[in-house]
Symmetry: C2
Subunit: 236 residues, 2 copies
DNA sequence: CACTTTCGAGAATGACGTTCTCCGCCGCAA
DNA sequence: TTGCGGCGGAGAACGTCATTCTCGAAAGTG
């Protein structure tokens, strides 16, 4: 702690950091560069704290100590703590989505793309140590969904779009069902992925039922391609 | 508001109230009758407040005013506000699940049962007016999942068991896939249902993509029965 | 050097949850 | 009737936070 405000941000904090973490960090830094250097300090400090603790309930005091700044300037740049968190997670999601998109675009099968995406999301959310960011991200999703549903939908747009693009490609090449609008299919898929990631990240899965990413993928695949044939009857 | 503490609890608040709401209310009242009459007051008051406002962030002050009681006795019966909410939602979920189970057991096709269940959950969570309870329930799920994952899993058990039983029946009569353990299938299904209900309740669905219960069911059905045939390859 | 803008330090405020203290009230035994 | 033990009402007190406000001290500008 008390890191110099020099470049290297999180070499130590990203103890369990994978290459992906660092890549995300890097693109995050880019995004930051655009932002006013002032707000930057706060975002960076918040990012560090969240990465280390995996929680978003740090106090504003802690934040300003970490950012070597003052309450006054904090509230000069962000109208509230929530706004800061929103900004932080917006950046993270956007850059993660960009990251995933880049990785996935090298595959030509959209189903493989979805599978890979599912594994990324599920794995990252499951990282128990070091990558507290992912856990916090899951947790914060929920708070955000509660408090600002509209913002929530907006912030998740990059991920939704990524899934949507893959779904559309899948529809185009005939590997996905067409009896559900691709937009809807994408939203349902995203909800399923994100929901599962939440439970996984929180360890809220019941005892005897491990939801590993393969089973989850099998389930989604079924949902995405459609049932073998119309089974029994639909109720009234 | 300022309803008498007489019987009829939510006739007005349940403007969009279906018979089911009232049935749930009734069985809730039964459950209450068993509880110590003291704690009862608090649970009932909380239930009223939540039904009316659709939020769980009422202050303890409001609660004790409504329950015509005192802070002192509140903390004598519940160690914290959270514990109260937990108790309240445990009751609600348990009785709702019992209610649904009763309704569904009259159907002989397990798939129909799941379909009906999905519609119940989705509809109730979507009620925009009056039935604030359902909305609050969704919201509180999230908070609970965040703060006490273990309790969360426990409280949801009745619903999970209900789904599990249906899944097992479906497996038994050959209408559901067998390549995923029924426990896992049930958990995934529940996560999908509950997740969708959350988004629906919160209005957090993106603009152009209505996730109506039929589409959601189609998706789940696919996931539950399995893909038509193994399509393309799985990624590395 | 006056003058404005910027921002650090930190006190003040206001909401809440939670604890604590005082005291009346009710049932009960002698 | 009097004395007493405990339940529970009223509400003051405390601790933690987010958010605002106040006071100056640098730092750039003429």
């Amino acid at each position: 702690m008390t890191a110099t405000d020099a470049p290297s941000t999180s070499e130590e904090t990203a103890a369990g950091g994978t290459w992906r973490d660092r890549a995300v960090e890097r693109s995050l830094r880019n995004a930051r560069a655009k932002a006013a250097s002032r707000s930057d300090r706060f975002i960076r400090a918040a990012s560090e704290i969240v990465s280390e603790t995996g929680r978003t309930d740090f106090t504003v005091q802690t934040l300003i100590e970490r950012s070597r700044s003052s309450l006054r300037s904090f509230y000069q740049h962000f109208s509230s703590k929530e706004e800061l968190l929103l900004a932080l997670f917006e950046e993270i999601i956007a850059s993660s989505a960009a990251q995933w998109r880049a990785e996935i675009e090298t595959l030509d099968d959209p189903l493989s793309g979805l599978h890979v995406l599912l594994e990324r999301i599920h794995k990252e959310s499951g990282a128990t140590d070091g990558a507290g960011m992912n856990r916090a991200l899951s947790v914060y999703h929920l708070e955000l969904a509660n408090n600002h549903p509209a913002e929530y939908a907006r912030v998740l747009a990059p991920l939704r779009n990524l899934i949507f693009d893959l779904v559309q490609r899948g529809v185009a090449d005939g590997s996905l069902r067409t009896d559900i609008r691709p937009e809807t299919l994408a939203v349902i898929t995203m909800q399923t992925l994100v929901g599962a990631a939440h439970m996984h990240a929180l360890g809220a899965e019941p005892d005897g039922s491990p939801v590993d990413s393969e089973r989850l993928w099998d389930f989604c695949l079924g949902g995405l391609t459609g049932p073998p044939r119309a089974p029994a009857g639909t109720p009234r």
